[in-house]
């Protein structure tokens, strides 16, 4: 999911950095002190999600949890993912400093779709289940698409790798969708008040 250092052309690195910086600075500017703890703990969860490996056939995929974090944070997800990506880049070499902007764009922008899906009104149980599955599936699918698009825009020599990267993410999208669905069902059963984030955002109060 992370684009490594040294792969991309300067135009892509700079473009990704500029767009991500604009979103992140706006999110920082509007961030209230009360929202810092929630943003920080969800940033920690995003950081650690890459250590949760889920088996699929002979191999395994790691979780991303971008959709569910986006659902809980909205635009603040840019800050949470920025912090997590920077720590992953310097401490583990996942991604890196020059690719931080483009990786942030590829991973954080789709989480806004997760937030939008979470805000949709639902009346029936199966509607809710479908939306919760999509909160996991769609942001990861969009991230994989953006990653492949980034590679394809990097030059003709990268097109084959772009196609392969998109195909390789297909199982991860399904797993992410099911894990998000079951995790949200679990939270609804055990601590339903935590999912009342919808009402809290609607009235602009911290959850």
């Amino acid at each position: 999911m992370h684009l490594s250092e040294g792969l991309l052309r300067p135009e892509i690195l700079i473009g990704g950095a500029v767009v991500s910086a604009a979103f992140t600075l706006y999110a920082f500017k509007t961030l209230k002190d009360d929202e810092i703890p929630k943003t920080a703990v969800l940033s920690a969860l995003f950081f650690l999600a890459s250590f949760v490996h889920v088996p699929i056939g002979p191999t395994s995929v790691h979780l991303v949890l971008g959709g569910i974090i986006g659902a809980m944070l909205g635009l603040r997800a840019f800050i949470a993912i920025f912090v997590a990506l920077l720590l992953q880049g310097v401490l583990f070499g996942f991604g890196g400093l020059t690719t931080l902007g483009i990786n942030l764009f590829n991973l954080a922008t789709p989480t806004l779709v997760g937030y939008w899906l979470f805000m949709l009104p639902t009346t029936k149980r199966w509607h809710k289940d479908l939306l919760w599955f999509l909160i996991g599936f769609v942001p990861l699918a969009l991230s994989a698409f953006l990653l492949s698009l980034t590679l394809a825009l990097n030059g003709d020599a990268f097109v084959d790798a772009a196609k392969l990267a998109l195909l390789a993410h297909l199982p991860a999208m399904l797993i992410e969708g099911f894990i998000t669905l079951f995790a949200l069902r679990f939270i609804e059963k055990v601590s339903p008040n935590l999912l009342h984030v919808k009402e809290c955002y609607a009235t602009h109060k911290p959850a």
């Binding site: 992370h2 490594s4 250092e5 040294g6 792969l7 300067p10 690195l13 920082f28 002190d33 810092i36 703890p37 943003t39 920080a40 703990v41 969800l42 940033s43 920690a44 969860l45 950081f47 650690l48 949760v52 889920v54 088996p55 699929i56 056939g57 569910i68 809980m72 800050i79 912090v83 997590a84 920077l86 720590l87 310097v90 401490l91 070499g93 890196g96 400093l97 020059t98 690719t99 590679l151 003709d156 020599a157 990268f158 084959d160 790798a161 392969l164 990267a165 797993i175 099911f178 894990i179 998000t180 669905l181 079951f182 995790a183 069902r185 679990f186 939270i187 055990v190 601590s191 935590l194």
Partner: protein, 225 residues
């Protein structure tokens, strides 16, 4: 004995600034030069006892780079494949070695010492603390599953169990954020985190590494590719 304790430590602030400079300059190069290896050699010597584990990590980080390089070789674009492979590995090796032995808290401290905005440094400190606590719960959960004889497989039970684990992590994390928010109110938090370590822990190695890194980025002799 922890091998990292025997290594000369580079200050986190120096590490962050030099990693940013080295990555930015090398990532934008169309040609690589022999002097760019100098900081890698110095860092390699400083961390000589840990080189095996660093190279093992580097090997696993090369998955995407190998796919990209292989697709270029397939198209007979040998020079670009070599450039991408070397450029990525130079930067990765530099980052892995310079941040060797550092943790999330040291990055947060580096952010504070660079006088970045208080909101940003506060989030780094709270994230570092949360990572520490969630990691503990992660290990506890893994051990619990292991003791109960749970074997992860490709089936619904595994996915529901993993989802339950994710759910628990979210519940605990969100509850913790509420406690933290209340604690911040009680302590009169005004956007700034104070640390006990007030001094910058620079050593002679910081100066030497900074000098060699800057030299390596401006000295354009001996093209490698």
């Amino acid at each position: 004995m922890d091998k990292t304790q025997t290594q000369p430590r580079i200050a986190p602030t120096t590490a962050l600034l030099l990693a940013l400079s080295y990555s930015t300059v090398v990532a934008l190069q169309e040609h690589l030069y022999a002097p760019m290896l100098l900081p890698l050699l110095l860092l390699g010597w400083l961390h000589r006892a840990l080189l095996w584990s660093i190279f093992k990590r580097l090997f696993w980080l090369n998955t995407l780079i190998a796919i990209v390089a292989a697709s270029m070789l397939w198209q007979e674009n040998y020079e670009l494949a070599l450039l991408v492979f070397l450029r990525s590995n130079f930067i990765l090796l530099f980052v892995l070695m310079i941040f060797q032995g550092k943790d999330e808290f040291s990055i947060a401290i580096a952010m504070q010492r660079l006088h970045l905005p208080h909101k940003l440094t506060s989030i780094f400190f709270f994230t570092a603390k949360s990572i520490f606590l969630i990691k503990r719960e992660f290990t506890l959960f893994k051990n619990t599953l292991h003791v109960r004889g749970f074997m992860p497989k490709t089936n619904l039970l595994t996915y529901k169990t993993m989802a339950g684990f994710v759910g628990i992590l979210f519940i605990k994390a969100l509850e913790r954020s509420l406690w933290l928010q209340k604690a911040m109110h009680l302590r009169g938090f005004c956007g700034e985190v104070y640390t006990l370590e007030a001094h910058q822990d620079f050593s002679v190695y910081d100066t030497l590494l900074a000098f060699i890194t800057i030299l390596s980025l401006v000295w354009r002799q001996g093209a490698l590719i």
